[in-house]
Symmetry: C2
Subunit: 208 residues, 2 copies
């Protein structure tokens, strides 16, 4: 890690402490610069802007989450269905606990999601890679009958979207969310075991 990288990391660390404590809006570039013993103008040699610093922090958190999710793939003692369960519940519990532990960082992540749409897509894609490998493992082990793991992973993400968005469940208790996720998980798992076709055009069954 060269001097530039070290300075960038120093800025990220300072900004993260400020964002976590005061929130994104209440933190100024002057605050962050002061914490780093540099002038506000100098921050712009290392980052394009304030949003870019926040995006970097959010992306690191997203990557760490996916690294944790990836560990599910290493547990040889668990079936594909159990791994899928571990994945979905870990995702839910992590998001829920983040809301309790670092509400201001969650708020910052939501600002980035709104201002930088591609950031969110990237995060979904990272998680989908892990999900896809869980589904592939299920196909290999004979548990799931699926012809396109990547596509099915995308469908699972669409079906469990409710449990990934803090703003969609902030008014619900964790045990209620877990009950709902368990029910959705049961249907998904039963469907994967029974066999799901690959991607196909939507059937215009309505027009008769």
């Amino acid at each position: 890690m060269n001097a530039t990288d070290m300075t960038r990391q120093k800025i990220i660390d300072a900004a993260k402490r400020r964002f976590a404590h005061y929130g994104y809006g209440k933190t100024t570039m002057a605050d962050v610069a002061e914490d780093c013993d540099m002038s506000p103008g100098n921050l712009y040699r290392y980052f394009a802007g304030k949003l870019d610093i926040a995006e970097e922090i959010a992306r690191a958190a997203s990557i760490r989450t996916v690294e944790e999710l990836s560990e599910i793939l290493l547990d040889t003692g668990r079936s594909a269905a159990e791994r899928l369960h571990d994945f979905l519940f870990h995702d839910l519990r992590e998001t829920f606990h983040a809301l309790e532990k670092d509400p201001k960082l969650v708020e910052m992540a939501q600002i980035i999601t709104t201002e930088r749409p591609h950031f969110h897509d990237e995060g979904l894609e990272r998680e989908r890679e892990v999900l896809s490998r869980i589904v592939e493992y299920g196909v290999l082990s004979g548990e799931f009958r699926v012809s396109n793991a990547e596509y099915v992973a995308e469908m699972i993400q669409a079906a469990t979207l409710k449990f990934s968005y803090p703003q969609l469940f902030s008014s619900l208790a964790l045990d209620r969310l877990e009950r709902e996720l368990e029910g959705v998980y049961q249907i998904i798992t039963a469907g994967l075991r029974a066999g799901v076709a690959g991607e196909s055009a939507p059937q215009n069954l309505v027009e008769a």
Copy 2:
């Protein structure tokens, strides 16, 4: 319908035209009163307030949607799986087209959802009743192996939430949404055919 009901309907009709054209915020109670040939104060003999008029309009639209969805139950020529497909796609297409045809009424409905949380829960419950009967029909016909139709209907709603919230898909094209919904529908249907347990406590599989 007595005189009071007729006056209420007149107010609703006038307000709806205004809300559809100018939006909820840009419409004043004075505007609506004028359209009804009455004074602003008189509106309060028929409705508690402006939000209540808007809630009534949104509720009527929700009821009409559910009435349309209920017609799916009458088509004796279609299987339970086909009816479920009809239900989910009708819901998506209606929501999507409402965004195009009456964006300001959709915006009004979103204001009501925010200001009157119970309104949204009522709407979900109405749709769930239809969904539940479709699932029951599937159980009766032998297509679905489900022990608690009401519970499964709730899970299907959770799994398809993405396709009911305009703000969650307004940036996506209808054909892309239909492709995703088709995929989620295939997994759900396969799961229901294969058999889904009833409501149970979430398994703490993670803690090992």
